[in-house]
Amino acid sequence: MEFVDLFSYSFIRHALLAAFLMSVACGITGTYIVSRRMVFISGGITHASFGGVGIGFFFGFPPLAGAAIFAVLAALATENLTRRKILRNDSIIAILWSLGMALGIIFIYLTPGYAPNLMSFLFGSIITVSSMDLWLMLILAVLVSMVFILLYKPILYVAFDEQFARIRGIPVMLLNYILIILVALTIVLSIRTAGIILVLSVLTIPQNIANLFTNRFDHIMIGSIGVGFLASITGLFVSYYLDIPSGATIIFILVFMYLVARFVKVVTFGKTIRQIHEPQR
């Protein structure tokens, strides 16, 4: 089969569109997550959402709707409990992480009939995205883009120095809640393509690749979108030709791209790996 013939399949066209929309949403929110060192929080939200998947199966409503509710609740709980210093941040994340997974397993076990296909939720399946999934991803990508375009400066200033932003009268708490909800929704809508286990890598690896070549927040966002999309389409076609899972292939491609990028950085700029990442002080 010719390469161009692949595009005659609607599932390939859907997958490409899904890859692009996921790259936009993950490229933008992932830059925020990585810059604010919130990767572990995102891991907690991701795994907590599995509880919603299990409850969705048990009660017979769309599992992704359940995942969205759980992810948003986990995100709000993490933000709120951390702010009020009720528990240490890493402890809150660990509790929500394991509670979500436990609830998911219990409810899926209790669901009558055949066990649902958990693999597509855990590891994603970009070639099975539906039209509805694509519409939801489009709405999210537009929403995330609009929020970051309109509120770019306040978001940047709060992320850099929350205390100073508060002194300048920027509504720090409101912005933090808006952004953590956007992160939760991005995670949930990326579950269809990358899966619960792998979604964290599409939120972090493109950003780290872009960060090798630029130290500007807006440039990292744009670079991450490009890197994420390139890795997604490469992974999609490699997985198609080798007949291996698409989600895992995309992650493998991302890690490979990261290693190549580091090598190029060292060779081109003559810097050691340590120099790349160490501040000048």
Partner: protein, 248 residues
């Protein structure tokens, strides 16, 4: 000389959980005051500043401001921010002009001009595009100082601005602050009494209580009475009088 009161605190107390950090503290800051706030680590200096900035609420006592909080410039301790955060020098300084939640707007010429002038003033004009992670310790502090003063505040609060900077920048910093004091009041937290003495006008010793000393010179006996003892240490060849509990 204009001596308008900018802020006044009366019998202010604050505790973290049940541990009291500040007890019955009173202080008045007027236009063009230059007060050195000294005291041992854990004595409540930073808590006092956070109360002034509105980051903490007093649990008892009274704090009144005759200026808007946006008219207060603030230079935090260097350890507060992530030095590897991807933000440029120009963006850091421009953040000092942001106020409230504003939607994206075209970069106003006025904002651009103010940021450029400030960068010229602190000697960073040629580095405006550089990410802060690529600056030296002194350059980073200059950028943070520019952020604090770009809005021309009426009160400038600095929390240990001389940490992690070289002697040359330290001297330049205090010289610049002296010039700025012509147009604004300054509260300067420092552990190095010897270094700040020639520049400040009065001293507030903070060690749970606050003792206000209306002169820039203070004897070791007086500091002992105020419960803020000092010791002589050497930074290179220059002996310094620093707070006893200060760790290097």
């Amino acid at each position: 000389m204009n001596d308008q009161v900018l802020l006044q605190m009366k019998n202010l107390s604050f505790a973290y959980d049940k541990q009291r950090v500040l007890s019955e503290v009173s202080l008045t800051v007027r236009d063009r005051d230059y007060i050195g706030i000294i005291g041992p680590n854990g004595g409540g200096k930073t808590t006092l500043v956070k109360l002034i900035l509105g980051l903490l609420k007093p649990q008892s006592g009274h704090l009144s401001l005759t200026l808007e909080r946006a008219e207060i410039g603030y230079l935090p301790q260097g350890t507060q921010v992530d030095e590897r955060f991807p933000i440029t020098v120009r963006e850091v300084v421009a953040s000092g002009l942001e106020h409230g939640l504003t939607l994206r707007r075209r970069r106003q010429a006025d904002e651009k001009r103010k940021v450029h002038e400030m960068l010229e003033k602190v000697g960073l004009a040629s580095l405006y595009k550089r990410p802060v992670g690529e600056l030296s310790g002194g350059e980073f502090q200059r950028a943070m100082l520019a952020r604090a003063i770009v809005s021309s505040p009426r009160l400038l609060v600095l929390d240990e601005p001389d940490t992690h900077v070289d002697n040359k920048f330290e001297m330049e910093l205090y010289s610049l602050l002296k010039d700025l004091n012509e147009g604004m009041a300054i509260l300067l937290i420092s552990h190095d009494i010897g270094m700040i003495t020639p520049y400040i006008k009065s001293i507030a010793c903070v060690n749970r209580n606050l003792h206000y000393h209306p002169h820039n010179e203070i004897s070791e006996e007086q500091l002992k009475v105020y419960n803020c003892p000092v010791e002589i240490i050497s930074h290179g060849t220059i002996p310094h009088r620093v707070m006893k509990e200060h760790k290097h």
